[in-house]
Structures are given as C-alpha cells and as structure tokens.
Amino acid sequence: MEISRHWRLKKQRYALIGEVCPHCEAKIFPPRDVCPECGDEAKTEFAFSGRGKVYSYTTVQNAPQGYADAAPYTVALVQLDEGPMVTAQLTDLGSQKVEIGMPVEMVTRRLRSEGDQERGMLVYSYKFRPAEFQRLAVAAD
C-alpha cells in the first residue's frame, strides 16, 4: 500500500509537476484538480521551475521514525517563483547560513533512511539547496 502511494506521487516528488488553471492561469502545487483561486476544474499539468525563496525555516531535532538518522535537519517553507509555497527540507547548505528570502533551487534527494518500518524502501523527493550564484558566493569567501 505504501509503495503504491509513493509511486502515485512520483511526478510531484521527482519533477515538481503541478497544474495550471485553464480558467484563471493560477499555478497550483500540489495538484488538487480544483483551482483554489477560482474554484473551477484545473487538470492541465504544469512543470514548476524549481526556483524559489525561503519563506521560513527551522531545525528538526526530534525526528519521526525513518528520519532520525538525518536529524537535526532543516525544514523550510519555500515560496516558488510561480506562486505556490511548498514544505521541503533544505540540503547542501555547507557553511551557508539560512535566511528568510534566500534564493533556493530544487534537487532530488533521498527523504527517508533505509531499514525503517517500510522494509527498507527508499523514498526520494524534492529538497532545496541554495541557488547556484548563492553557493558560488559562499565558496569564494
């Protein structure tokens, strides 16, 4: 059951595929088939650019099962350039200090560790890392 659930979500998780409303052009993520802006049906697929900015962030110390190996980790609300906001982990931070407003870009990474209750199945998904120019600036310091 869990396997089919993660399989169903792979387009969203791997490629940030959402929807665009054919009536009002609102960009929708995650896909929800009813446009939250105008209430009409919206089923047209739309691939998000994966670029956005940090709206807020925090550090998780007490992690749920399957995430404990990665703790502490940083979780953020990321406002995508196209409008919608997503919850996602930040990664590849290195010495980069996280700040609200920081530009980030999507990468695909492993979310859950092996050997958890799902019999070792791996779940991959989007995470966000500092945008390229941001990383270069830190490296040059």
Partner: protein
Amino acid sequence: MDIIIAGIGQTPVGEHWELSLREIAFHAMQEAMREAGELKPQALYVSNVLAAQLSGQAHLGTLLADFAGLRGVEACTIEAGGASGGAALRAALQAIQAGHVDTALVVGVEKLTDKIGPAVENALATTLDADYEAVHGLTPTAQAALLMQRYFHEFSPPEYALGGFPLIAHAHGAGNPNAMFRKAIKESLYQRAGMVSAPLNMFDAAPDADGAAAVLLARADLLPPDLPKPPVRVVGSGAATDTLAVHDRPDPLAFRAARLSIERALHQAGITRQQVDFFEPFDAFSIYAALSLEAAGFADRGQGWQWAQEEKIGLRGELPMMTMGGLKARGNPWGATGVYQVVEAVLQLRGEAGENQIPNARVGMVQCLGGPASTAITHILARD
C-alpha cells in the same frame, strides 16, 4: 433550546504508565456522571486522535460505553486533530439540538505513553498533510516553529516577546491540582531554555501527556430541581476549517479558521468579544497564543505578543487566559485537551476554581485548534 453542562470530570494530566486508556477515560466519565445525579447519558462521544496508532485500539465509542456500564447507548469517536475535543462537544450539542437524544456524555482521552520517542512523533505527524508535509520530516512542533520564525521576521518583536505566555501559564498551573506542571518558572529559565526547533524553545511547546476529561450535557428543561452543581449553559458554538497544509495558505500568519469559529460562536451567543470575561486559547505553542489573540480581534496583526503579560492575561488581568495552566502547564493530552478546556471553564463559571478563581466570571470563551488552526472550534459558556 438551552443546553447545559450538568457534570464534569477529569484525571490529573501526566504520565500514567500504570493506567490503561479505558481506565483513565472511565475515571473522567464516572466523575461527570456522578455530578449529574439522575441524568443518564443517552449517547457517548469520544474524542481521541492516537489510540489506533499508539495503543492499537480503534472503536473507542463501544469500548468505553461497554467499560463504563453504558451498554446500549449510541457511541462513536470524533477526530479533528488537536480540535477533537471541541468537535466531540459540538457533535453532542448537535445531537441534543436535533432532538435525537436528551443527554450526551463527551469524553476526551489520550494515552501517549504507550509508546515513546520517534513512534509518538510519527503518530503526531499524521495530523499534518501526510503526502506534502509529514513526508518531508515535518512535525507539529517544527510547523509551529516555521510560523514563529516568520512572525519574528515580519513583526520584529523583542527576542523573548512570547515568553510571557508560558510564564503565566506555569504560574496558573501551580493552582491546578490536575496540571502536569504545578510550579511557576522564572523568566531567566525561559531565556536560557534549550531549542526544540529554533526559534521555538522547550518552554514554547506544551508537553504531550496522558489524560481524560468528560462533560455531561443535557437539555435545560430536563434538569431536576436538585441538581448537585450549578448548571453552566453552552450559549455558542462555532467551527471552521482552513487548508490542512500550512504552505497552502495565502497568509500563514492569519489564523483564519480561528477567527471564523469565534465569529460564528459569538454570533450564536448574541454577544461581542468584549463581553467575554476570560479566554481559554489553544496554547500548544506560545506562537499560537499570540496568533489566536490576533485572529480573535483582541490584538492587531503582529501585536498579539504584547498581550503576554500579567496585566493583560493574568487571573486579575484585562482578559484572564489559560486560567488553570493552559496546555503549557496542564499538559496537552491531544484528544482530551479540548474537553479539559471546557471542564476548566466550567470550574471558573461555577466558582469552583479554587485559588485560580477569577472574580465575577460570567462568560467564558474556549477555543481548540487542530494544527495551526487548520481546524478551529470555539465554544462560549455562561452561567445564569
């Protein structure tokens, strides 16, 4: 039709390793039924969030009706995350209002200590959006921390601006025999507290714990003249939802459902918020207390933190809050929390709140939240 609370019951909140879920629930139910004297419940509404996951037990309605000697009554579980207690109370009110039953018993019960650590975090995280929040390792605490971080960024309150909420809650908890923490804490302790999910520290989060609380409702016209306790009326009830995932909101710092549920409850009661004598908010996290005050209209946007002081919300303050310790000091037994809040408000309105009694309490407002006001349910209680 007038509906009254004829009986209340509660167990001390804490870690009850020695008691099972059915035993702590029964303790609260029995107390409420004893207070109500001759009135027998015709329906049982159980509020619970985690029993299926942590105790391997679903079907609590029948379990608890059976265990409490109520075999035959109708019974079921109501779940709305952290707002389950308010939702169960509302279901009971609706059943009586509709004429299906004359009396109903509401019991909120949670048994968190059957499991420990990551398993509990896992269970709590099921109240988030599983596919788009929890899967990213988000927990309810981290979600509150995201809002707190953004709040400080947008409104720039002083660094320890929210500390007054837990400090006052702990001071009030000292006078509540059923509270998990019964000791006031110093401001310096708050300021030195370790981070749970920065900027949220260990005093910004209410402790999850075991507990059970119950109320028995009845049609006012059925009240026997010799009711042992002064009746408290439920004069308003309002419920509302927002997006489940906090990232789907145009403005995550506006607790829209909290505002809607209060407006609906006040409207039904036919009063304004200025007529409320005390407010039991859902202070699962300090930031929720601030955002709830703003949503209720007591504070302007970004100014809720200014209420975190004794003159405002202390027992002799402008609008006493968390009068028996709130979630922070009483503890947060999830499904039971909303019922505890009502029980505590009834104690205030009856004049039975002991050293925590606020003077001239006639109207109390009680609000419980599922998540960051993803669900919000508000009740207004009054004594004659």
